[in-house]
Amino acid sequence: MPDLNVKIHNLTLKNPVLTASGTFGYGEEFDDFIDVNTLGGIIVKATTSKHREGNPYPRMAETPMGMLNAVGLQNKGVDYFVENIYPKLLKYNNCVIANVSDSTVEGYVEVAEKINRLDHIQAIELNISCPNVKEGGMAFGTSCPSATAVTRAVREVYDKTLIVKLSPNVTSITDIALAVEEAGADAISLINTLLGMAINPETRKPVLSTVTGGLSGPAIKPVALRMVWQVAKAVKIPVIGIGGIGSAADAIEFLLAGASAVQIGTANFVDPQVTTKIIAGIQDYLTRHNIPDVKELTGGLIL
């Protein structure tokens, strides 16, 4: 039986398969379909300092092998999270990670501080890459100084594992990655969504209320894989790969490119059992290739 454990800084994951923020609710939405505890961990949806209604309807458009979303960080704010959602997360004994977002550095810091006190949340993922909010969000993740500023500020108040999630909408992903590593990130996750758009030719209107939105799903996998490969070569901290993963083969591509773990996003919508299938598929692959430990795959690309 191959060893599926992986380490991301101080976190030990029972396997390298996590769920991507915003695509797995708070876990319970999937309880009917899988035993969520069998996953390496779950990253719950973004929490901001204040309650947010998100963007108006319509928020979704299907695209060729992908989708655009414009949810815009709808959530009830960090205080509600601490009081009402956190207690429900205690039933999960795998790694539970909070995704933190906001429009200002102060906002990020406030959320991080409050979540720092929650024992059962073992890490935060700093979302400096959400394309669906007017202020902040992606703007933080598309320039080195702002990425540095927010990472550094959160680092000062957050003691546990700090993962920073990068935006792919940049000229040089490695520059941003190096900046957040330098600013104190313990790990990097990438990619968030690519900024995209869809128009309904019959009505002449944008399909999304926000005109542009975030592109996810298999369509973006080649871009995500390239960025993971570039970043994993450039930084010393662990990298978590995200983007269009829908099968064990996809996940293995990301591990070989240098990721220590992966996150499954949009694929959860198509098949709510996809995560457990991916874990089983990775195990099969390791057995078939006589690889005793999944960690051997990380960065195992043969050039």
């Binding site: 915003g22 695509t23 797995f24 609710g25 939405e29 999937f30 009917d32 379909f33 949806k45 209604e53 998100g54 108006p56 309807y57 319509p58 928020r59 979704m60 458009a61 299907e62 060729p64 092998m65 992908g66 989708m67 979303n69 949810v71 709808q74 799903g217 298999p218 949009t266 959860n268 919508f269 198509v270 098949d271 709510p272 059992q273």
Partner: protein, 269 residues
């Protein structure tokens, strides 16, 4: 209600008219519990441009035959593909999803459906009938050909029809039909499913006549289970997901639904 992912087998696929199909799906094990108003998320295999599942109301459930039906209107790639399914093809389905209609007992009720908005109303009419209600059903369409399955509904009560071009039943909008325009006070509850404009108009009539009303909303959905937050509708409690808080809503809870005056509606979408 526990949700399942099932591989159901197409038992039959009947073309009702040029763009509507009735698909009967069977299963080896007993179909799960479900209630009228709930829906299913169907994976459309074999179509390169349908990555996400498609939501459809549960149209009928036949416990004896252990089958369920979907009523599907072909509007795009996914629905066209489903309409071409053959006997014994397999459909991967997540269900039952969302919340159903609130069922009254021993009352007189009106069900209003427009176009393929009649889909959830068959299952609903049947259950209401079984619970001792006097069921009235108003079906609207642009033309006679759009009035679907009127005969099937007669098993459960009285059926009224209106068409915009007058080719069947009353001529005009459903909202102009005498049963709504004149006799609405007879009903203790109105259930409605159809185009947005129609539902708003019906909700408005219900509101002004102080009649309980429920509508079943459509929305673009990615997950169908409350995980993506893509399918929101504005309610007085903030944005809510149609897939988990609905698809059935009391229109009073929805912003700008009962307050505005709607002067009519067209089934032309």
């Amino acid at each position: 209600m526990k949700k399942y992912i099932l591989n159901l087998r197409v038992r039959s696929n009947k073309r009702l008219n040029q763009n509507h199909n009735l698909i009967e799906l069977g299963c080896d094990s007993p179909l799960p519990s479900m209630v009228p108003g709930q829906f299913a998320e169907v994976r459309v295999d074999g179509s390169p441009s349908t990555y996400l599942r498609r939501p459809f109301s549960i149209h009928r459930v036949d416990r004896g035959a252990n089958t369920m039906h979907l009523l599907i209107k072909s509007v795009g790639e996914g629905t066209r593909h489903l309409s071409a399914l053959k006997k014994d093809d397999i459909l991967n389905i997540m269900m039952p999803l969302g919340n159903g209609f609130t069922l009254t007992r021993n009352s007189e009720v009106l069900l209003v459906g427009g176009g393929c908005g009649v889909a959830p109303l068959y299952f609903l009419a049947e259950q209401l009938f079984r619970q001792g209600n006097k069921v009235n059903m108003l079906i609207g369409g642009k033309s006679a050909g759009d009035v679907l399955l009127a005969d099937d509904y007669r098993a459960f009560g009285t059926v009224y029809v209106s068409t915009e071009d007058g080719t069947l039943g009353e001529k005009g909008m459903v909202t102009a039909h005498p049963v709504l325009a004149k006799r609405v006070q007879s009903f203790s509850k109105i259930y409605c499913c159809g185009p947005d404009g129609m539902m708003r108009a019906v909700a408005h009539i219900a509101e002004t006549n102080h009649i309980d009303c429920e509508v079943s909303l459509e929305n673009t959905m990615a997950c169908g289970i409350g995980a993506c937050l893509c399918c929101v509708v504005e309610t007085h409690k903030g944005n809510q997901c149609v897939c988990t808080e609905g698809p059935v809503f009391n229109p009073k809870k929805l912003i700008n639904w009962t307050s505005e005056t709607e002067t009519g509606c067209s089934l032309d979408q």
